[in-house]
Symmetry: C2
Subunit: 136 residues, 2 copies
DNA sequence: TATGAACCCTGTAGTCGCTACAGGGTCAAG
DNA sequence: CTTGACCCTGTAGCGACTACAGGGTTCATA
């Protein structure tokens, strides 16, 4: 299987696949006589795992750990749970933070009554660090 | 005012201040005889604006536009409104996306019953691209 | 006067996860 | 025999910083 086919099969950019190889996230495949990468079904599986985890926002260090753990079937599931739980917590923190931003942005926008820059409540709110809109 | 004082006054890393100068977001200050940067009150105000806007997640291109607009007091407020509104929409999209991730992660974690890696539902869910947990 | 700490300077490289070239080689079809 | 689609390596770019290395300055203290 050539890199273009792996790309098609997994919906992954060719450059991204080569990048994953470079950082040793995806093992080096064999090569054809003309030096083309030659992938096996295991590569498809692993790359699907990686792309799904990336889609869920896991960073590459976490994915590396998850893949390592997956290669050790007798080991306890706790570490996997810890990584996924840690990531969920991070996502929840991020959501909470963005909800605060949303509130402040909505507040700012609600105060805008059009008119001239000189009277712009949005610029005023941005400049006024001592009294951010979310607190008022 | 030296860079360390500006840093204190605005809660901004010294390296970040120099970075803002390099990308011409913060105007070059005067220099003392010993070549130290010498900031004026206007710099404090501008940097406060920048930091507040960055805290709200505006990117530097947007902040540049907002600062430019602020320098033109007779101009209509519409462009400012458009930038802030666009950013609010982006924040809302991001929240929606993270809420989906949260759902899928919670689902994955809920299925974990401990035990061995070989039976790990989390790794199974991650590997199973055809049927992501959020859809089931 | 010497010394040491705390500050300041420039310039460059690293972070993360890709993405986008430049400059070439390979292969199948017409 | 040429065209075009694919493949290769290597390097540089993105955004928004952050972290040095390797030096200069200032000020208080001994």
């Amino acid at each position: 299987m050539k890199i273009g086919e792996l790309s098609q099969a997994t919906g992954t950019n060719v450059e991204t696949i080569r990048y994953y190889e470079r950082i040793a996230l995806l093992p080096k495949p064999g090569r054809t006589g003309s030096n083309y990468r030659d992938y096996a079904p295991g590569h498809v599986e692993r790359l699907n795992f990686i792309r799904h985890a990336r889609g869920l926002g896991f960073d590459i260090a976490d994915i590396r750990s998850l893949l390592d753990l997956g290669g050790d079937p007798e080991r306890d599931c706790g570490e996997v749970d810890r990584i996924a739980g840690g990531h969920l917590a991070a996502v929840e923190r991020k959501i909470a933070q963005l909800e605060l931003l949303r509130k402040e942005l909505r507040h700012m926008l609600a105060r805008c009554e059009g008119g001239q820059i000189a009277d712009c409540r949005i610029l005023e709110a941005l400049g006024d660090r001592a009294r951010p809109a979310a607190a008022g």
